[in-house]
Subunit: 245 residues, 2 copies
């Protein structure tokens, strides 16, 4: 089919064997301590904060690239990913932050280096189990950490609006696609799940209706033991039933 051979994983340097003008930006959602979190990259020298992202190898499927990119930042496999929008306005990229970073990394570049040209960004959102993630910086950004969704700082380029759009998509998908559990640990109480829903949708839900609806889906199974620790009746623990996963 092609004369090219598969490219090795280019973790040590900014490779050149990528499609130009195209990038993937990932909004990686986690949930912890009653808060939605996003994983963000920071270039400490200039303080630039950005979404984790990456490029597409010339012989790599788009979804595979998204998987690889999120995998590299989280250390996880089999990640729930949803492609939600393409950000393609001319002028959305300010080349200056990238220029600074290239300079700081000692990478030779003139003004028409492909990394400084216009990019069209394909937005993916990922839902991960916060407790399982081991954030890893990349070659460009020297830190990688969780931020409360409500406390996201000013980001590079249009990344703030990418997060906004990802959140909207997540809200829409929540009822249709039954994906919230990707943000939970294996076992949880209905109360936990309700708090997650309330946090994502940013509104209070009535407990009886929520429980009836969720249990009515028939995708949860009770675990033998109950949760204990609170000064009140112990709630059941649930997990998602095997045939559903």
């Amino acid at each position: 089919m092609s004369k090219d051979k598969p490219v090795e994983n280019e973790t040590g340097a900014i490779g050149t064997n990528f499609m130009h003008g195209l990038a993937i930006d990932a909004v990686i959602f986690g949930f912890h301590d009653h808060q939605l979190k996003v994983l963000l990259m920071r270039y400490n020298k200039t303080g630039v904060v950005a979404l984790p992202g990456g490029f597409i190898h010339k012989i790599e499927n788009l979804n595979d690239a998204a998987n690889r990119i999120v995998s590299e930042r989280t250390g996880l496999q089999d990640i729930y990913l949803e492609q939600f929008y393409v950000f393609g306005d001319y002028g959305r990229s300010d080349p200056q932050p990238m220029k600074d970073i290239l300079t700081a990394n000692g990478i030779e570049h003139d003004d028409d280096h492909w990394l400084l040209q216009r990019f069209i960004s394909i937005g993916y959102y990922a839902l991960v189990d916060f407790t399982k993630v081991v954030p890893k910086p990349d070659t460009i950004f020297d830190s990688c950490a969780w931020y409360d969704l409500t406390g996201v700082p000013q980001l590079m380029q249009d990344h703030n609006s990418i997060i906004q759009k990802a959140l909207e998509s997540l809200r829409n998908d929540l009822d249709n696609k039954l994906i919230a559990f990707n943000l939970m640990q294996e076992e949880f109480t209905l109360g936990d799940l309700q708090i997650l829903y309330e946090t994502i949708l940013d509104k209070k839900l009535l407990r009886p209706a929520f429980q009836r609806k969720i249990l009515g889906l028939g995708i949860l199974e009770r675990v033998a033991k109950k949760w204990t620790g609170g000064a009140h009746k112990a709630p059941y623990l649930y997990r998602f039933s095997k045939p559903f996963l």
Copy 2:
């Protein structure tokens, strides 16, 4: 911002001032005679049929490009467009049909011409008033015509699955986004509208429930005159009320 000047509309030839590796494919839906239709391009010499598509100027917004592309094929302005998915598998493009077309158009090319390389395609669907469209071929395909959705032939590359995905998106959006009227003429009966819904969703709906729901949305207004022509009670004509449009 940039030294480049805006590019003239390149209708006479396949220009070079486009982003490489990126394309837009448009699924243009119409509705006529109780059938959903899609506008398709055909290269008569080899019989290749494909979705209308195009490229993105280096200084053009993505949505503007989609608008331009659909505008050029339909002759319409202010088109309802929805970006629905990006098709980015490696190996989705078979370069041969394009090679034949370039040759037939007398365009010099070797095997690594950018038009023969891998493309990532951004899928848009458009909803248009069938009766208003004047299909126009482009420089590559010498015919442009409506096809019944149920009678779409084998298309170039993965265009059949692009149509499939567009249809799924349209079905999902139908209830949420209230967009069906983009496929109707200005005035129509509730019966017409119901047939459209039934055709899109591919299932029968019960008339009283459908009418109650649609009228309950409060976005229709009755037109003074009624429709006549059938040997039965004349139905009211409706149009979408101004404040809604």
